[in-house]
Amino acid sequence: MDLDFTDDQTALRDTLRTFFGKESSTAAVRAAEPLGFDAALWRKVVDLGLAAIAVPEHLGGGGAGFVELAIAAECLGQSLAPVPLIEAAVANDLLASLSDAGSSSSGARDARLESLTARAVAGELLATLALRPATGDLARLVPAGAVADLVAVLRGDELLLLRQPDRGPATPGGAVHNLGALPLADCPVDTEHALVLARGPAAVRAYRRALSRWELLTGAALFGLGSKALGIGVDYVMQRKAFGVLIGTFQTIQHRLADNAIALDGARLLAYEAAWAQDENLPTADTSATMAFLFAAETAFKTASEVLHFHGGYGYTLEYDIQLYFRRAKAWSLVAGDSRAAYARLAHHVFGTAQAQAPAPAPAPAERAG
């Protein structure tokens, strides 16, 4: 048992805290709205190699793991950094693992995939992941879909990599105005320009794995967001007076902040346990990621909304920063769907029998014939 970071991890956290604190001030966050993408910051994030730190070194990545990525996600969350680091990291990891598997198996190399993977890992292309399977010819509300060059999406039992020739970090397109100021967009599934990454159970498995990695990293980011919101709350109640005293002396405010502090500690432990479980390839890694995501989402939103409330009327104004946290606390998790449905699925994964687990999409007829 060792619940501490290594010295390297501590150094990484300190560096990234400083980096995001400087590069993603709330002024910068506001300036990036409504699109929610800061191209210059993205360039810097790419130059630091953050989107590929978990990709193996022989594929051009940093050779680190999900604990390091979770650290980056936490720091991103604290500063609400308007860059799709989590989506890109997860998509790069997915591409790298498929490309690696292809090159190591007998002759099934896919030069196109290898080239796209190399360019994504190098930061020349921005890849993202659709959080829900495509319906018909459309992947709906894809995170970073407005700024991504590449979109990984499951359709039926095929895992596709879409190219978006007219969209990218320099040429945002299709963005829809939304609560969290996220560069969300619908992405057309144009099979002519799509690369089939995997088919059948392997495709579903790879997609699920990527989703759970997105969940754990988003959980870490939401923990970061929530911890910063708590800090804003503590600072505010220690400045604001009512009835002649600091409102931070009121027991009802103290107790609610204390509850949020405990839940945030829980969210942090869950997020890093989930990251560690991914790095260790444990069978519990996926449920651990879902737990980290759900608990962090609830905790971040409760913290941000209560702290907004403690601001009184000022919390309702756009001028105070807490609204930036409040909106994202809801939106960052909601893009993955209703959390209550996710809790129900989780119960089946943790306690259900094998056949009671969430049903896999039915294989396509061609696959069945093959």
Partner: protein, 389 residues
């Protein structure tokens, strides 16, 4: 990072299990439940005979030389089988306090006898008018030559019906701030003027009110300095917090419920787990349980590193007990009308353990620091907010 916990008791578990198998009678569990007394005299005698009580003590005070790991594994195994040793838990807290602050005579008087199984000590802190504000105790101890005369009443003196002594917090100086005029006494329960009345609780446990009318004890019954009782009690509290058994997850009502929900069927033939309303709540409870486990893991990690028990202990206690209350209530809801069936009712799900658990969970947020006191500790020490009382 590494979230795997090495089971330091692993090498003792088989032997501990064999000991429990050979000595424990299954009816003791039922007897504890029926009587509400969470201590079994026969078991205590056996634990003493085989040196398990005295495992972690120096030989000059009666230490047995039995491996402390084995002893902890035995208590762990007893807990798994639903057998409580509450009287011994309070006793060992007081024994550790005697070890730290007692005189040599006191150590020789109390430690060997207790480790032989001949002494049990109950805690006499709370009173009718003071619980969380324990320093407001009104029970008095007045000096009379070489003796002290104690008058007052203590509440929730659990297992005192089996105890040889009560560890009494009493006011020895009414003219100074409340924390500075308290002393601690070991009061024999066979003293003239001592009386006990049972108090029955919602969870089925029996506790007591104990009464002290001109009870005389020698000055040698005083533990720690005159008016130094607050500090002495804090030594005992540290041992209360560190007493939480490592690795024991206390059983999981949620896991038991999920096992039930997987097979129990609704009138239309679907399982309870198929019902998304039930599944959602079960999923939520699973997350809460994992958070509870991780907060406890962090406490053990801190202890392993040699850190003092701090605000993290309060965080765990608050989260764990409030989650347990939410869960026990949700579980009854998921059971539906049968959730109301008590352990002795025919057809009670899981033999009524859920209904019993619902009643018992109530006390979690009250004893050992109420949720409100713990929130205050966290607000002050963790968030740096001002003291408000």
């Amino acid at each position: 990072m590494d979230f795997r916990e090495f089971d330091e008791l692993a090498s003792h578990r088989e032997a501990a299990c064999a000991w429990v198998e050979a000595h424990v009678r299954p009816e003791w569990v039922e007897e504890q439940r029926r009587s509400g007394t969470h201590q079994t005299a026969e078991l205590h005698t056996l634990l003493a005979r085989d040196g398990i009580l005295a495992a972690d003590w120096a030989p000059e005070y009666g230490g047995s030389g039995v491996d402390p790991g084995f002893a902890r594994a035995v208590f762990d195994e007893l807990g798994r089988r639903g057998l409580a040793c509450d009287g011994w838990s309070t006793t060992s807290m007081v024994l550790r306090t005697i070890e730290h602050v007692g005189t040599e005579e006191q150590k020789r008087e109390y430690l060997p006898a207790a480790l032989r199984g001949d002494r049990l000590i109950a805690l006499g802190y709370s009173e009718p008018d003071s619980g969380s504000d324990v320093a407001a105790a009104k029970t008095t101890a007045v000096r009379d030559g070489d003796e002290w005369v104690i008058n007052g009443q203590k509440m929730f003196t659990s297992t005192a019906q089996l105890c040889s002594h009560v560890f009494v917090l009493a006011r020895t100086d009414p003219n100074v701030p409340k924390h500075k005029g308290l002393s601690m006494f070991l009061v024999p329960t066979d003293s003239a003027g001592y009386d006990i009345q049972p108090i029955h609780t919602l969870g089925g446990q029996r506790t007591n009110a104990t009464f002290y009318a001109d009870v005389r004890v020698p000055d040698s019954a005083r533990l720690g300095g005159v008016d130094g009782g607050w500090g002495v009690m804090h030594v005992a509290l540290v041992h209360e917090r560190s007493a939480s058994s490592p690795g024991s997850d206390g059983g999981s009502l949620v896991r038991d419920l999920a096992a039930w929900a997987r097979t129990a069927r609704r009138p239309d033939g679907t399982t309870v787990l198929d019902d998304p309303l039930a599944a959602e709540r079960i999923g939520r409870m699973a997350v809460d349980e994992e958070v509870t486990r991780l907060l406890a893991l962090r406490n053990r990690w801190r202890a392993q590193k040699g850190d003092l028990p701090g605000v993290e202990g309060s965080m765990w206690k608050l989260f764990a007990t409030e989650a347990a209350q939410r869960h026990s209530s949700n579980i009854l809801d998921i059971l539906g009308p049968e959730g109301v069936l008590a352990p002795d009712a025919a057809g009670a799900p899981a033999g009524g353990r859920f209904e019993e658990g619902f009643r018992a969970a109530v006390v979690g947020t009250i004893y050992g620091g109420t949720s409100e006191i713990l929130r205050e500790i966290i607000a002050e020490r963790h968030l740096g907010l001002p003291r408000n009382r």
